[in-house]
């Protein structure tokens, strides 16, 4: 499958024209990841937005119990999924860590190069920003709901965390 075809399978770029896809392919960088290898860590500077070309990426954050810290997977991203959209949103810092659950290949697009394309192709910008808005809205709603459910459990259990 060519890079153009890989990019077209991505949910974020599915509605772009062939010309826009070709321009994206010109700035695409393929990164291979071994199983367990981290693509980025929570708090890192976010310079690249990334598509999963093959394999599986786990998005996780650290939890500490009894002084031991481990990364807990909260979301997975397979082929065609977009990760690292923090690269397009200030303060350009990753809010989760990402690691390969199996041998994986991702396609990375540098923010500055994307912005240069957007300056030349406003339709591309509109499509990509619209797609990013949907991704972010879904993530926000998901975690909002998870938080609400957890809050209800905490209040129902009478935990001392629940300060009126």
């Amino acid at each position: 499958m060519s890079m153009d075809e890989h990019i077209r399978t991505a949910e974020l770029f599915a509605s772009l024209s062939s010309g826009s896809i070709q321009r994206l392919a010109a700035i695409a960088r393929v990164l291979p990841l071994r199983t367990g290898e981290y693509l980025f860590l929570l708090g890192d500077s976010a310079q690249y937005i990334t598509l999963v070309k093959s394999g599986l990426v786990e998005l996780c954050f650290p939890i500490s119990i009894g002084g031991v810290v481990k990364d807990i997977t909260v979301e997975t991203a397979g082929r065609g999924k977009t990760i690292g959209w923090s690269a397009m949103v200030k303060p350009y810092r990753f809010t989760l860590s990402a690691r390969a659950a199996e041998p994986t290949e991702v396609v990375a697009f540098a923010r500055q190069e994307l912005q240069a394309l957007f300056a030349m192709d406003p339709v591309m910008e509109r499509c990509v920003v619209s797609g990013l808005s949907e991704l972010m809205a879904e993530r926000l709603t998901t975690f909002q709901a998870l938080w609400a459910r957890e809050l209800l459990r905490t209040l129902s259990s009478g935990s001392p965390h629940a300060t009126p």
Binding site: I65, K70, V74, T141, T142, S159, P160
Partner: protein
């Protein structure tokens, strides 16, 4: 002469009473200070122990016991299983927001013990 003796005796009695009252007050203050220090030390330890415990594990009577939990791969798997169940429930809410979908049961909660 007798008057002077009476005045002296009353003075000694009165002074003794004041001295006893003062000593009693000082003892009580010292005990209060020690108790307050002990309570403050316990209060500092309690939040530090609880902060590291995830919300769905915390139950008041088990907060201190949880410090003995071994954070191994099995526990990680159980936490991630819980997260997957929760996300499956929440996915319905994301596409069809409603109070029923928000608080739908996901199954048995995770217990550390």
């Amino acid at each position: 002469m007798e008057t002077a003796l009476v005045v002296l005796a009353v003075g000694v009695l009165f002074g003794g009473m004041v001295l006893m009252l003062t000593m009693g007050f000082l003892n009580a203050e010292r005990e209060r200070t020690l108790q307050a220090q002990a309570q403050e030390a316990a209060a500092v330890r309690r939040p530090a122990a609880m902060i590291t415990i995830p919300g769905f594990f915390s139950r008041p009577e088990r907060a201190m016991e949880s410090l003995n939990v071994v954070f191994d791969d099995e526990l990680v798997n159980r936490i991630e299983h819980h997260v997957r169940l929760e996300q499956a429930v929440v996915a319905q809410f994301v596409h069809h927001p409603s109070v029923d979908n928000l608080y739908r049961e996901s199954g048995a909660p995770v217990h550390v013990h």
